[in-house]
């Protein structure tokens, strides 16, 4: 028990989403944000930042930035949903890059395909201008730690 459950309950109640990001130094470093949509799902947002560029010639976002942003989205979505007592541990992460990530704001949404007792399967989609045109799709397994 590392107080994660209480922490997230507090974030959910106060809607201080950036507090959840601040808890994950790497997510904070990337500059990720998220908020709840009217439908109650989470929308993740990565504003453009020069430091996230991976190819200055195109220019394009670093593939690792897109993947890291999507992984953060999956972890936070799980924490948000399952009231876990500690952070889910990533088992694997499988990403397909569909379009190059341009130098602009990027979004992500998660679909928790399965929330088992021990394992969760999460699908993550990232896009820029058009939610129907994914720049990357990923799926990931997490080990859950329950009380």
């Amino acid at each position: 028990m590392d107080g994660v459950k209480d922490f997230f309950a507090d974030v959910r109640a106060s809607k201080d989403y950036d507090k959840a990001i601040a808890m994950i130094p790497y997510a904070h470093f990337l500059g990720a944000h998220f908020s709840e949509t009217e439908q109650g799902s989470l929308l993740f947002r990565l504003p453009f930042n020069e430091k996230n560029i991976g190819n200055t010639m195109l220019p394009a976002l670093h593939g690792g930035v897109i993947a890291g942003f999507m992984e953060n989205a999956a972890v936070i979505s799980l924490m948000w949903t399952m009231e876990s007592s500690s952070m889910p541990k990533i088992i694997d992460f499988n990403i397909d890059y569909i379009l190059s990530g341009r130098a602009q704001e990027t979004y992500a949404r998660c679909d928790i395909v399965k929330l088992g007792k021990r394992i969760a399967n999460v699908q993550i989609t990232a896009w820029q201008d058009d939610p129907a045109k994914a720049i990357a799709v990923a799926r990931s397994h997490f080990k859950l730690i329950r009380e």
């Binding site: 790497y26 670093h62 890291g68 499988n94």
Partner: protein, 159 residues
């Protein structure tokens, strides 16, 4: 068995270091932010490392390094291994990447990643990689990835 055709390698070009390491790799903003360093490069192979920094943490309570950092390092080292397998400079793009997290990467230690391009076709570079902290025989993560060749014409003709 002898090779059917002698391959040429960009890495054998005397300008490789200038062009790729200083001119391209050394100028990737995200890699600079993470502090990615080149450890070694050879035909078809590359090793990169990230020295430990507090911002690399994914789970403050457990003090373990974020999976995303490892993803980023795997993507970078895979790209570098691809360049080390190419005959000449061309733009490349990651098509897909899978990382298996074998054990937690602990805070306080840097991470090294070694990648190999085990097959290069006219369109695709096939990569496998591992990431480790102190012992390459005890990796924290393993990875397979594919990179598309000539994904853009912007880098052609550089070397």
């Amino acid at each position: 068995m002898s090779e059917k055709k002698e391959r040429t390698y960009l890495i054998d070009n005397p300008n490789f270091s200038n062009l790729l390491i200083d001119g391209f790799f050394g100028n990737i903003p995200h890699s600079q932010q993470l502090g990615v360093e080149l450890v070694s490069a050879a035909r078809n192979k590359a090793v990169l490392r990230i020295p430990y920094k507090e911002m690399l943490i994914g789970n403050t309570a457990a003090g373990i390094i974020h999976g995303g950092v490892i993803l980023s390092l795997m993507d970078s080292v895979g790209g570098m291994a691809t360049f080390c397998a190419l005959p000449r400079m061309e733009a490349i793009a990651t098509l897909d990447l899978r990382v298996d997290y074998l054990k937690p990467a602990v805070a306080g230690l840097g991470i090294e990643a070694a990648a190999e391009c085990y097959k290069l076709t006219n369109t695709i570079a096939f990569i496998r990689a591992i990431a480790y902290q102190e012992d390459s025989n005890d990796p924290v993560a393993s990875c397979v990835a594919t990179f598309m060749r000539a994904s853009s014409n912007k880098m052609q003709g550089v070397a």
